[in-house]
């Protein structure tokens, strides 16, 4: 960089490399601003989060967020009663929604017609883990890890599980209507 008095931006530099010449023009101000701006930002960002300790480890942060979610999820109310699930199974709109959820999440193991495969048959009278509407709800929510049934509670959520249970009840003639509470 030359002294400012004799600096001429249109002057070519004295070196010529294989015919290539170079100007020594001023760097664009806006470009210098982005360069310095990014450096200043970085110093401030590091200073605030790392130096002053405002950065929590990620796993602590996410655990808190999940807790918040679970609080609001619990506020949604207790698990549905057997009769509520039964009544839902008589509602064609709910059954249809349950069918959709079944067809994306359950069909691979329990079959197109609920006839079973990797998973149990859901249209016969045999219920390994209990055959009342509440049993079915619990099996889906909590899973049976030993037998390979995944935990669906946190994945699907109570609303969608209700719909799937309603769908299964509607398909299985052996499930009895529970007594009114």
């Amino acid at each position: 960089m030359k002294d400012s008095q004799q600096y001429d931006p249109d002057k070519l530099r004295h070196h010529i490399y294989d015919g290539i010449q170079e100007y020594d023009k001023r760097m664009p101000n806006w470009w210098l601003f982005t360069l310095y701006g990014a450096i200043v930002f970085s110093v401030i960002y590091w200073g605030y989060y790392q130096w002053a300790g405002h950065m929590q480890p990620g796993y602590v942060r996410v655990e808190k967020q999940i807790e918040e979610f679970q609080k609001s999820a619990l506020a949604g109310g207790a698990a549905p009663s057997a009769i509520q699930l039964w009544n839902m199974s008589r509602d064609p709109a709910i059954v249809e929604s349950g069918q959709k959820i079944y067809m994306t999440n359950c069909v691979a193991c329990h079959g197109q017609n609920l006839e079973g495969g990797i998973g149990q048959n859901l249209v016969d009278a045999t219920w390994v883990h209990g055959g009342t509407p509440t049993d079915i709800y619990n099996t889906i929510t909590k899973g049976v890890l030993d037998k390979g049934m995944p935990v669906w509670g946190p994945v699907l959520g109570a609303g969608r599980i209700n719909d799937v249970v309603a769908f299964i009840i509607s398909k299985n003639p052996t499930i009895q209507q529970p007594p009114e509470m």
């Binding site: 960089m1 030359k2 002294d3 070519l12 530099r13 070196h15 490399y17 294989d18 290539i20 010449q21 170079e22 100007y23 020594d24 023009k25 001023r26 760097m27 664009p28 470009w31 210098l32 982005t34 360069l35 990014a38 450096i39 930002f41 970085s42 960002y45 590091w46 200073g47 989060y49 790392q50 130096w51 950065m55 929590q56 480890p57 990620g58 796993y59 942060r61 996410v62 655990e63 967020q65 999940i66 979610f69 609001s72 999820a73 994306t104 999440n105 069909v107 691979a108 990797i118 890890l145 390979g148 995944p150 935990v151 509670g153 946190p154 994945v155 699907l156 959520g157 609303g159 969608r160």
Partner: protein
């Protein structure tokens, strides 16, 4: 009289065009495999997991590598007015490099891989790469040492940075211990391996795909435009800031993972600081075209250069954007990253390559370009191809990112089935394959055009006259003079104080912070007083190849040391954050090596990020301790399928057995390839003893067992799984590879300390 060696240039160019076609054709095939799983053909050596590494290695090292050598060998001779130092080394370089590529093209489809991205080649090939790179370096620096041009032009600075940094990165990321002639384990595991890998991976992009091409830009663009370079001082500032800052940005590939927060923050802020230095290169290129824009309309060479430099600017703006933590939460593991890379490789690398080839071919064969019109068509087809590709990846990446992260007010996933996201972007996968195919088509046109040009011409020998008094220049500075100079001393002090500020206790950090600011101010005042003298010093530095190279090495080495060494030396790694890893049984280890061999990491991550969407979908976020015994680490970088780090015991064995044979039987709509060969190939039990021995030497606490005991343990676990499968009516030998793979998959997430945490989060 100096006669340039242009024969080597011609050969490297031919190789670049050839491997470019091969590499891009494999790219189109793997893009189609994502859209149509049938194109995996049910054969092991044509599955996506093995071909994707072949594609990346071919386009990076075979295509851009040969293109870079073409440009460096051609321009360096002219910029130094010197013939390449050694014919012998030049040809060893050429044939060595081509043989390595052939070796890669054979071994990768066979599943011989290290599974570290862009570093997949097995150890004998790695050694060959290092040897050939050193041959290249000797040939290049020897040429500089005997040069007839006193001062080093900016293109040479970038070549120097390339050669030095790639050597450093490549060697460190390939430190490994062989278990056989074809297999090895890296000496780093878990988080250390992840960090070293992305220090390398990110800077492979920086110093293999960026700096050499910037050097090429600085030679060929002013040549083709016949205009002076815009600004020498901009060259200086953007060169030094680029090489210094680039190296720190690697951890942005690991944002929101278990990587310690300070490293994530460093990765993010250095990526943001990288924006301006990158744009400095773009500006110097585009502003050099001032006064030559009318030529851009008619000259295909300039058309490719102008577009290439613009894409460089686009990609280097997108990069810092994606490195922001919150943006990365959306973009990471999705197609957005893939689109970003291709904006750079197709837009910048391939277009700069095309421009250079179109400029070189007529000159090297003493004729005119066969068809300007065909070159124009190539340009437009290529441009449409890139835009289709990149747009498809933006839409696909953002769509899947939003879907997979989205949570209902009830606190559960809006799209619980991963495949919903995958299948919602099917049309984008088709569009991307179309874009890639168009780009390849354009490249074919170029190959034809160049071939016809060469056919019409004759190889030209260029001889120049160098007056005796200008020969064999003296070096301008000694090493001592180059280091003990105000600019170097100030820069070093500022970096040292910054590091002390960042990594020491409160009091010393505060002092260091004040000193850092003060040094910066003093330096600025000093510069304003004696700027002219500093500028003279730099001019003399440019007359000294060795001091210049040493300073470059210092600039690039700083970042890596500050980031990597603390983790390498912290031996507390074993129970990081109170989460230890389950030590693999012999069968699980064999299964893991099958997982690595099949390239499962190309589509599946093993790292649950610290994000609500990830935790709800896959379980508690990953902890560092959970992968300490993983040599190499398998955190992955892309999720075409779901994360697998806690998939163990989620499904029964029979589920996996059916899934590997036909993924669509258990996962409707899946685009995963089938793996029928795992059902008739026997697992490599014989290799177990040497594998266990190497891993024990790396610190994995395997119990001491004789070879027989290892085999017995393997067989016992196999029989257990086969007995379980038998309940479902399956009959299979316990030695089959699929059994070992199931054993490996079923223990994923089986971390002694993580289990209670997992239950709590449910």
């Amino acid at each position: 009289m100096v006669e340039y060696d242009d024969k080597i240039v011609r050969w490297f160019m031919g190789a670049a065009v050839f491997w470019g076609i091969v590499g891009m054709a494999v790219g189109v095939l793997v893009a189609l495999q994502l859209a149509f799983w049938q194109l995996n053909f049910g054969t092991s050596w044509l599955t996506f997991g093995r071909l994707r590494p072949l594609h990346t290695n071919a386009v990076i090292f075979a295509f851009v590598g040969n293109m870079m050598f073409t440009g460096i060998y051609h321009s360096t001779q002219r910029l130094t007015r010197t013939r390449l130092a050694s014919n012998f080394l030049s040809w060893v370089h050429f044939w060595g490099w081509q043989l390595i590529i052939v070796g890669a093209a054979i071994t990768l489809p066979l599943g011989l891989t290290r599974s570290k991205e862009y570093a997949e080649l097995i150890w004998p090939l790695d050694i060959a790469v290092v040897v050939i790179w050193v041959v290249f370096a000797i040939n290049f620096f020897w040429t500089l040492a005997v040069r007839n041009e006193k001062s080093l032009y900016v293109a040479i600075w970038f070549y120097i940075a390339t050669i030095i940094t790639v050597a450093m990165l490549y060697i460190v990321n390939h430190l490994q211990i062989p278990t056989s002639w074809l297999h090895s384990y890296p000496i780093f595991g878990g988080v250390q391996d992840a960090l070293v890998q992305w220090w390398y991976g990110h800077n492979a992009v920086a110093f293999f795909l960026t700096t050499p091409i910037l050097g090429i830009m600085y030679y060929y663009l002013p040549k083709a435009a016949e205009r002076p370079v815009y600004s020498y001082r901009l060259s200086i500032v953007h060169f030094w800031s680029l090489v210094f800052i680039y190296i720190w940005a690697g951890p942005h590939h690991l944002l929101n993972t278990a990587l310690p927060e300070w490293l994530q923050t460093l990765g993010m802020v250095f990526s943001i600081m990288l924006w301006a230095p990158s744009w400095g290169g773009m500006l110097n290129g585009l502003l050099t075209l001032r006064g030559a824009w009318d030529k851009v309309r008619t000259d295909p060479v300039l058309k490719f250069f102008a577009a290439g430099v613009t894409f460089y600017g686009m990609a280097t703006f997108e990069g810092p954007l994606l490195a922001i933590r919150s943006v990365n939460a959306l973009s990471h593991y999705t197609d957005w990253t893939i689109g970003h890379v291709h904006a750079g490789t197709l837009g910048w690398n391939s277009f700069m390559a095309a421009g250079m080839f179109y400029w070189l071919t007529p000159r090297l064969w003493g004729t005119k370009l066969y068809s300007t019109k065909l070159a124009d068509i190539h340009f437009w087809i290529g441009m449409v191809g890139i835009l289709l590709y990149v747009a498809a990846m933006w839409v696909s990446g953002i769509t899947t990112g939003l879907m997979l992260n989205s949570v209902t007010p009830e606190g559960v996933l809006a799209y619980p089935n991963f495949l919903e996201a995958v299948n919602s972007v099917r049309p984008m996968q088709h569009m991307r394959a179309l874009g890639g195919a168009l780009f390849l088509g354009g490249f074919f046109l170029m190959a034809y055009n160049l071939f016809r040009t060469i056919w019409a011409g004759q190889p030209v020998t260029t001889v120049i006259e160098v007056p005796a008094e200008e020969r064999r220049v003296q070096e301008g500075l000694t090493l001592w003079q180059s280091i003990f100079n105000p600019p170097v001393i100030y820069s070093t002090l500022i970096v040292v104080f910054a590091a002390l500020w960042g990594f020491t206790g409160q009091i010393s950090a505060t002092i260091a912070f004040v000193l850092m600011i003060e040094t910066a101010l003093v330096a600025m005042i000093h510069l304003s007083i004696s700027g002219a003298r500093w500028s003279d010093w730099y001019e003399r530095l440019l007359e000294s190849w060795l001091p210049f190279s040493v300073l470059t090495l210092v600039a690039v080495a700083a970042g890596g040391m500050i980031q990597i060494l603390p983790l390498v030396y912290s031996k507390a790694a074993v129970d990081y954050e109170k989460a230890a890893q389950h030590v693999y049984t012999p069968m699980e280890l064999v299964g893991r090596d099958i997982y690595v061999r099949e390239g499962c990491y190309t589509c599946h991550s093993q790292m649950i990020r610290t994000l609500v969407g990830d935790v709800l979908r896959y379980g508690p976020s990953g902890r560092l301790g959970e992968s300490v015994y993983d040599f190499p680490y398998q955190w992955g970088s892309k999720r075409t399928g779901p994360d697998l780090s806690r998939v163990g015991a989620k499904y029964p064995n029979i589920w996996h057995f059916q899934h590997f044979e036909n993924p669509r039987s258990t996962s409707i709509g899946s685009n995963m390839p089938a793996y029928p060969w795992l059902y008739h190939q026997d697992a490599d039990v014989a290799a177990l003893p040497s594998k266990v021995r190497v891993l024990r030497s790396l610190g994995v606490p395997f119990p001491e067992r004789t070879d027989e005991q290892l085999r017995a343990a393997f067989e016992a676990q196999g029989k257990e799984i086969v007995a379980d499968l038998g309940k479902a009516g399956i009959e299979i030998s316990p030695n089959r590879e699929v059994i070992a793979l199931i054993a490996y998959i079923q223990q994923l997430g089986k971390s002694p300390a993580a289990a209670p945490a997992q239950a709590a989060a449910r």
